[in-house]
Assembly symmetry: C2
Homo-oligomer: 209 residues x 2
Amino acid sequence: MARLPLYYRALLETAEHDVDTVSSEHLARLAGVNAAQVRKDLSHLGSYGTRGVGYEVGPLLREIAGELGLTHEWPVVIVGIGNLGRALAHYRGFEARGFQVVALVNNDPTKLGGLVDDLVIEGVDELPRLARERSIAIGIIATPPHVAQGVADALVAAGIASILNFAPTVVSVPTSVSMRKVDLAIELQILSFYQHHRDDPALPPLGAR
Amino acid sequence: MARLPLYYRALLETAEHDVDTVSSEHLARLAGVNAAQVRKDLSHLGSYGTRGVGYEVGPLLREIAGELGLTHEWPVVIVGIGNLGRALAHYRGFEARGFQVVALVNNDPTKLGGLVDDLVIEGVDELPRLARERSIAIGIIATPPHVAQGVADALVAAGIASILNFAPTVVSVPTSVSMRKVDLAIELQILSFYQHHRDDPALPPLGAR
DNA sequence: CGGTGTGAAGCCTTTCACAGCA
DNA sequence: TGCTGTGAAAGGCTTCACACCG
């Protein structure tokens, strides 16, 4: 159900335009997917559509928010306060979507105790306490690759079971933990691959990618 | 072939350890995928393995680098110099992988002409000239969502056919252009979804995700 | 033997097509 | 009539299993 957030965003936009009903086709265009897929996805949530009319924006928004667990704030810790970590700490898009950065962790002694906005940078060994005191459920790894596995282990040991990993390395976690990866260099390499194979007849047309 | 960069990174690591032969199983562990998959993927590049022995690290590395188009530097332009854009401009992981940020673009008049490292921030209308003079093939969009579509159009008009989009909105480009998306809020929402449905028996076990 | 290369099976996701309801 | 909800078909990707080779 990785598409629910897309529908959610699309519905928020339509709600802003004071539209209170959308067809699967309209929603599909906004989310950039197929209309049949929208209907199938939404049917899994129960019947929120009216045949011949479409879906009611308000109720559907509430249903999806509930499904995604967006009815309350999620406290987040960022580990690794380099360029990327600092940028993520400042990123407005998180709070707008219900995620609040409540702790910063970095083991570099020169940064320890420093401030980013109102947050003190703390050591990795403070993770268990921070996680407990601030009810942290999500950790973001923005460290160099060679310490990422250790950080992941520390997050797991602190009871944080959802991890977003920006470090360009393979990190393994217990199956009870969910982890998502964002690897910027790999994204560029994939672009480079297609750029390099432009006009390669053996490749599927670009529209299909 | 979105896994080639993973193999590439894994092979670089083994090369550092002065190992010159790897089995598909070893490579699979390093890349975090299935061994059969490694063999199938690599067989598409031709036969670089020796039965009973494994794959020769050096030749395989060169072959993959060639396939990914990593034999030369790729000049990159970053559009949108907010927190994220600035962090990306500083990000070391790009240059280490053959991508060089050669231009910064931002339309905010208060930032125009400013410097980030040695690069001058230029206006969007300079894109065609920059793309031509600096042979830019890849553009990164790190703007707020409401201007992302316009920026994408400008990139395409400037002849840039590979785009990495960080703006949290759906952007459409001609089928001749390849675009990849990284949406940080959506990644967190997906984590939130699984966190919210933890212990939900209707869901597949976490290991399968 | 050990490990690659690969047909075939299995699985999961997407798309089609249309019945059925407002 | 218009659009949802959904079985069935199609397609793509992953995994298995094993023949074959060094």
